[in-house]
């Protein structure tokens, strides 16, 4: 066992000394993270733009509505002229615009029903639909406030001056806004459910799988160069050499995992100390499965090119099947196929801890699958492992 550890340590040293390999293993995932960060702006919440054409110029209630929308942190409000809005809609530069008619404030003041119009291309796009729901919520709030105000005005008509009723209603509404009767608290365990959390596990497992399986190439190179053969002329047994290579793969994957997750934590402020440890443990088990797969590739293939292309093919197939870049619908054919991919289980386990706030004990099934796959691949690899064709096992 001690000699196996020495073999693994030597391989880890070679990995850390090889700048190209190190760059591939660490820099590429970091670049992917940076691209993700750029794409999502590092924001944890939805952020969309509300395009508005306000034909009710200087209208009290249209200004109130726009001010309320501007106060919403999730919205950026852009006011357009009618012609400009129609032009942009025609060119699909924007997919949805809110039109406030010129009689909007007047009708509301008179206690009449006013209308707003969403003009959109198709279904208005996902962002447009979310923006529309924010606008509907703001309009609904204004509508309720006005109904209360008009009800009180009718009830106390002649007894209390209208201005006094308006002032008191506005005062209470303001107070309720600042101190709502029902408060909504967001209590997210471990991290926020944002796109970074959705993609991070898949990207990390993809690169770990790629780095470890492509490591099969170095074993083939060593075999070709004669260092593996030479090691077997020492007192190292083939079993110790095999174990050493397996441990080297795990160590390499583990180092990569730790560095990538530390960078992810620094960039995105995700993880609690406990979830970090739990995810690290899951990645350790996944690295063991990937290491077994890498050794099996090295055992079967005979050339460096064959090792590289096998690793690329397996990684790409597993990336597709494992739901790295898209969510796999439950009950679909894809879900059935995804069960043959190792990183599916790692992705599910990591996402469960990262997004759903679950613990390692909640994802024991996925961990058992990864451990089982690791053992099976290792047993097959050991049975086939030979340093020389016709050589000893």
């Amino acid at each position: 066992m001690f000699k196996s550890l020495l073999v693994a340590w030597k391989d880890v040293r070679l990995f850390l000394l090889d700048k190209g390999d190190l760059a591939f293993s660490l820099l590429l995932p970091v670049i992917t993270f940076v691209l993700m960060y750029g794409a999502f702006g590092g924001q944890n919440r939805f952020h969309g733009t509300a395009y508005i054409v306000n034909e009710d110029n200087n209208g009290y209630y249209s200004i109130m509505l726009i001010d309320r929308l501007k106060a919403n942190e999730s919205l950026n409000v852009v006011e357009l002229s009618t012609g400009e809005a129609n032009r942009k809609l025609q060119k699909s530069d924007i997919l949805m615009v809110l039109f406030i008619p010129d009689d909007f404030s007047e009708k509301l003041s008179d206690g009449e029903t006013a209308s707003l119009t969403f003009k959109q291309r198709g279904n208005g796009g996902q962002e447009g639909q979310i923006v529309a729901s924010y606008i509907r919520a703001a309009v609904s709030s204004i509508s309720q406030e006005l109904q209360i105000q008009h009800g009180l005005q009718k009830t106390f008509s002649g007894q209390i001056p209208l201005e006094r009723i308006t002032t008191v209603v506005q005062k209470y509404i303001e107070r309720n806004r600042n101190h709502p009767v029902v408060e909504i608290e967001e209590n997210v365990l471990g991290s926020q459910p944002d796109p970074v959390n959705q993609f991070l596990p898949g990207i990390v497992t993809m690169y770990i799988l790629f780095a470890i399986t492509i490591n099969a190439r170095t074993i083939v190179e060593e075999r070709k160069k004669g260092t593996l053969e030479r090691l077997l002329t020492t007192r190292l047994t083939p079993g110790q050499l095999f174990s050493g290579k397996f441990l080297a793969g795990i160590s390499r994957g583990f180092i990569q995992t730790i560095i990538l997750f530390l960078l992810a934590w620094a960039a995105f402020h995700i993880f609690t100390p406990v979830s970090f440890l739990e995810i690290t443990l899951i990645c350790l088990v996944f690295a063991a499965a990937a290491s077994s797969l890498g050794i099996l590739i090295a055992t079967v293939v005979r050339s460096e090119d064959a090792a590289t292309w096998t690793a690329v093919f397996i990684t790409m197939a597993m990336t597709m099947l494992g739901g790295t870049f898209f969510t796999i619908s439950p009950g679909s054919l894809m879900e059935t196929l995804s069960k043959i991919s190792l990183n599916t289980y790692a992705n599910i386990a990591i996402k469960s801890v990262l997004i759903d706030g679950k613990t390692v004990s909640d994802v024991w099934k996925e961990i058992v699958v990864l451990v089982g796959a690791s053992v099976i691949l290792l047993v097959i690899g050991r049975a086939l492992f030979r340093v020389l064709p016709g050589g000893k096992r």
């Binding site: 073999v7 160069k225 004669g226 090691l231 002329t233 020492t234 190292l236 020389l388 050589g391 000893k392």
Partner: protein, 249 residues
């Protein structure tokens, strides 16, 4: 009568019906430098792999230091040092680190491996550049590191598979001196080479292999005597007479 240190008897090894080693037998006395000569593909490297316990023979037996490699491979392997034809080392590591790593694989402790590495590097004349990465070394220096690694387990018998291929005269001379000093210390050596003058200079006995078989085995002087005046004939003349002038791949 003294028992030979290495006894190889009736070794056979085939790959896909190709007989790489076909009934090879020889013995090497303790402290002897024994040359194994032959053209490319003659079966020299396969023979060394069998003797090194890496490749099991299809038939035949090898006894090293009194231990059968079939029955006591681990004990036999403790007596062996192998310097392969290719540079089997890690160029990204320093010479010192390479030697320490292989020393640890031979079962030495960290301290023992370091001490042995210093001794071996001194022996091959690389003490002063011990901490440099091997990838920065010249071809000759790499060959010397290759040899120094083979000595890490303090072997009683050393298999040297063409240790001087493609190196400068200084490095070649250093390797010769190292081999002779090991011989003085009682180390038994099996030496393969394409350079006939090396075999003539170093080896007490040589075996010439061709097509997996030993076609001649004796002292260089006696082999030369068989085809002419030993003072005027070279070992290369013997070699070409026995193995022919046909080009080999």
């Amino acid at each position: 009568m003294v028992t030979p240190f290495l006894i190889a008897s009736h070794l056979y090894k085939s790959f896909n019906h190709h007989k790489a080693v076909n009934d090879v037998s020889f013995t090497i006395e303790e402290g002897e430098i024994f040359g194994l000569l032959g053209p490319n593909g003659a079966g020299k490297t396969t023979t060394i792999r069998i003797l090194s316990t890496i490749l099991p023979p299809d038939k035949g037996e090898v006894i090293i230091g009194g231990y059968s490699i079939k029955e006591h491979p681990d004990t036999a392997r403790r007596l062996i040092g192998v310097c392969p034809q290719d540079l089997a080392l890690y160029p990204e590591l320093s010479a010192m680190d390479n030697l320490i790593f292989f020393g640890r694989m031979e079962g030495l402790s960290g301290k023992q491996a370091r001490e042995q590495a210093l001794i071996n590097l001194e022996l091959v004349g690389l003490s002063e550049r011990a901490k440099e990465k091997v990838e920065k070394y010249s071809g000759g220096m790499k060959r010397r590191v290759n040899l120094a690694i083979a000595l890490m387990g303090n072997p009683k018998i050393l298999f040297l598979d063409e240790p001087t291929v493609g190196i400068d005269p200084q490095s070649r001379n250093n390797i010769f001196e190292t081999i002779l000093s090991l011989c003085d210390k009682g180390v038994t050596i099996l030496y393969t080479t394409h350079y006939m003058e090396e075999a003539d200079r170093l080896c007490q006995r040589v075996a010439i292999m061709d097509a997996g078989q030993i076609v001649a085995m004796d002292t260089p002087y006696k082999l030369k005597s068989q085809i002419g005046d030993p003072e005027k004939t070279t070992l290369e003349d013997v070699f070409l007479k026995l193995t022919g002038r046909t080009l080999r791949d």
